[in-house]
Symmetry: C2
Subunit: 126 residues, 2 copies
DNA sequence: GCTTCATATTCCTTCTTGCGTATATTCTCT
DNA sequence: AGAGAATATACGCAAGAAGGAATATGAAGC
């Protein structure tokens, strides 16, 4: 009755559009909040709260870098999370929303590179 | 902005323990409500409402057989659902809760076989 | 110490979900 | 038609989630 809750926790994290987009972007590499804001074009509170939600449940980790908080997927996800991340990757490949997010990230990457803390490397896989 | 909602709908269906158990059991084959009741040891209302929830969202289909309603996974799931069902199958394999449900289903299968409508074949893959 | 920037948290409202009790529906059999 | 079995729905409630506005925290630079 314990490890099944892990699984449910994962699904709870995945069943919101904003969180799905956040996680999907993290699959391209670590990012900080303000970059999420620009790619998703959503207000800071919304981004930040969803990232907190994900962090509390272990779907993302974060690290402070000066003023910036760098978010990333956990370095060693357990079986359930790994399996679901792979599944999401698969489902997101052809999906218009996710494709658009990836395109937008790619387009903004050079701009981000100028002003970013060193731990935040959009477009590079973490 | 449409097909991503399909994906979210799937995750919404998967993020409840009872629904997860229902879907997992259906991966073993079609079942009717009263059999779910016995395997899960949950009240009829609960089972029935969660099945309705799943049906409305296209994660299960059902067919009347006299007094019984036979529930099953959709015969031709689309990519997102198929992918997630496979992922669930993977995650459920070693999970205590799901293992117990499978064991219980197996144990009850002979008893079900006597009283079941013909469309309901617990233990056989649909 | 004060300001500024990036991010987090609090408060409030609205909407959804899950559960249980009770009741309705739908079919079968006589 | 009436009874009984299997399943579904309605209602009320408590809890949680999502959003926005405002405010708080924490680090950096002067």
């Amino acid at each position: 009755m314990h490890s099944v809750m892990e699984l449910i926790k994962i699904y709870e994290c995945l069943c919101d559009l904003t969180r799905l987009r956040l996680i999907h972007l993290l699959q391209e590499g670590p990012l900080c909040v303000c970059h999420f804001q620009e790619v998703l074009r959503e207000p800071q509170v919304k981004i930040s709260k969803h990232l907190s939600y994900l962090r509390e449940r272990g779907l993302v980790v974060c690290e402070r870098q000066g003023n910036w908080m760098i978010y990333a997927l956990p370095p060693k996800p357990d079986r359930e999370l790994g399996s679901n991340l792979a599944c999401l990757q698969d489902c997101a490949q052809e999906n218009p929303v996710f494709r658009a997010d990836r395109a937008r990230l790619k387009k903004l990457a050079p701009k981000f590179a100028e002003t970013s803390p060193c731990g935040c490397r959009p477009g590079e896989r973490g």
